[in-house]
């Protein structure tokens, strides 16, 4: 197993700063904007982006959190039991532009569940997606509107975002299993 650090704490903050600028630019300011983070690591990321938006635009953007466990399509009766972290969206999403925030975009199934969970809470004017990393290998037709880092990965790689709020330190790490000798591995982009 090889571990490579792609971003340190400063790298993550720079990337989030750029995401915030892109959101503000694309939406021409932050009118009727709301950020909704997907548990777990999307929630602190959404809060950090809101903080950046406050710094550059001087606005307070409401932030909510979404627990998608009750909307998943991969139930099984075995395996570790789920820990519900709860959905908390204390503002009306009706008519707003909601930017969903998650750490890593991979198969797209989490985002599919998040869309269902979000739309059960009301009818936003539009929904967009911001992710810190897009690592490809989609299983559903889902794309992000704002991407911090596009990464070529193999399916068996592991991309791990660690955040101070949840993991004591900031860091974006790529873990690559060492291939068996002579075995060719497929490498795909997003």
């Amino acid at each position: 197993m090889r571990r490579k650090t792609l971003f340190d704490a400063a790298g993550i903050q720079r990337s989030l700063g750029r995401l915030a600028l892109e959101i503000a630019e694309r939406l021409q300011g932050c009118k009727d904007l709301a950020l909704v983070g997907i548990h777990r690591r999307g929630v602190p990321l959404a809060k950090r982006i809101a903080q950046k938006l406050h710094e550059v635009e001087g606005v307070h953007v409401p932030v909510g959190s979404l627990d998608i466990n009750l909307y998943r399509d991969d139930f099984s009766s075995v395996g570790t039991a789920p820990v519900l972290l709860g959905t908390q969206v204390d503002f009306d999403i009706e008519g707003r532009t909601v930017v969903l925030v998650d750490d890593v975009l991979f198969t797209g199934r989490t985002v599919r569940s998040a869309l269902d969970a979000l739309l059960d809470l009301g009818r936003p004017a539009r929904v967009q997606l911001a992710v810190l990393v897009d690592r490809g290998h989609r299983e559903l037709p889902i794309q992000a509107d704002y991407v911090g880092l596009s990464l070529n990965t193999r399916r068996e790689d592991h991309v791990e975002l660690r955040l101070k709020e949840t993991d004591a330190e900031d860091g974006l790490i790529l873990e690559t299993p060492t291939p068996a000798p002579g075995k060719k591995t497929e490498r795909r982009g997003k």
Binding site: I38, D67, I68, N69, L70, Y71, R72, D74, F75, S76, S77, G79, T80, A81, P82, V83, L84, L85, G86, T87, Q88, D102, D103, V104, L105, F106, T107, G108, R109, T110, D116, A117, D120, L121, G122, R135
Partner: protein
């Protein structure tokens, strides 16, 4: 967290961590009931059969609402309108329904251990909604959720349960639960309504209600079934009220912040005075509300679940 149960037959089968896990899950489930659109797809395509061989309003509606909020399909089976009336046995009833591929049975039955019986007949999950005077696990869980919301934790909490201890499944499940999480339980009632050797469950037993109230943080009153009086277990309802009824005056003997609970249905003026039932320290309606969240949590953990880590 690992939670590897297929059934919930009694609190006796759970440990303290599992109880906390169910309560934590229930706290998060509660939010769903406060949305304009009160439904999540967690149990879509699952069939839950509600088998009620004894009458029940609260528990049955609470389970049914929980099932519907989780998008499960429900089949309501009541003994009075079924082949049981024609003499079909419990085992045959279950074996027949089982061929219609249910995922879960929620059962109330007058016989203790009846849920253990059907567990052996079906691969589906079994949730005990009350079996005789044995256990009523979701009631104890919703009581615990209510206590935790008001008191923060259970450690060292003084709990008094008063009423018909002998015929109550609620008290047994509550004693198991409260002992496991570190509360101290006292049970109280007329000696004729307390089974012998009840102390062996790890509780204090007394018939002196006023003395028992002193220093209590939680006072849980149980329903007195009126037919018990006809069987001569206590002289009259008025005398019961005078000795064991929870009045405002008596409640002052308990701790200042004490809460009052009742699993319902209440007999006002028998085990509890109206002013107490409707008073500021009463959490009786919170218990009803928490019932839906707890049952959603139990059904979700037994039938839904899934992986802890998202696949992104």
């Amino acid at each position: 967290m690992s939670f590897s149960h297929k059934d919930l037959l009694g609190i006796a089968d759970l440990n303290a961590d599992e109880i906390t896990y169910i309560l934590d899950t229930a706290e998060k489930m509660a939010e769903v009931s406060h949305r304009p659109m009160k439904k999540v797809p967690a149990l879509r395509g699952k069939l839950v059969v509600n088998l009620f061989f004894e009458t029940s309003t609260r528990t049955r509606s609470s389970f049914e609402i929980a099932e519907k909020r989780l998008s499960a399909d429900t089949l309501n089976f009541s003994a009075s309108a079924s082949a049981v009336q024609k003499g079909e046995s419990l085992a045959d009833t279950v074996l027949n329904i089982d061929r219609m591929q249910p995922d879960c049975y929620v059962m109330r039955h007058a016989s203790p251990g009846s849920c253990h019986l059907i567990k052996r007949l079906t691969p589906a999950a079994v949730v005990n909604a009350g079996d005789g005077a044995h256990e009523h696990p979701t009631q104890a869980l919703l009581d615990a959720m209510t206590i935790r919301q008001r008191k923060g934790s259970f450690k060292g909490l003084q709990v008094l349960i008063c009423g018909d201890i002998a015929h109550s499944r609620v008290v047994r499940s509550n004693v198991h639960l409260l002992n496991k999480v570190g509360a101290k339980v006292t049970v109280c009632g007329p000696a004729t309504l307390i089974p012998p050797h009840f102390e062996s469950l790890g509780v204090r037993v007394t018939s002196d209600f006023e003395k028992a109230l002193q220093g209590k943080d939680v006072v849980m009153m149980l329903r007195i079934q009126l037919e018990r009086q006809q069987r001569g277990l206590f002289p009259s309802l008025l005398e019961y009220y005078k000795t064991f009824g929870l009045t405002e005056q008596r409640l002052k003997l308990a701790n200042k912040e004490a809460i009052v609970m009742h699993p319902g249905p209440m007999n006002r003026g028998v085990e509890i005075a109206s002013e107490v039932a409707d008073g500021p320290y009463s959490v009786i309606l919170d218990q009803v509300e928490n019932g839906v969240a707890v049952r959603m949590a139990v059904l979700y953990l037994l039938l839904g679940g899934g992986e802890d880590e998202a696949s992104h």
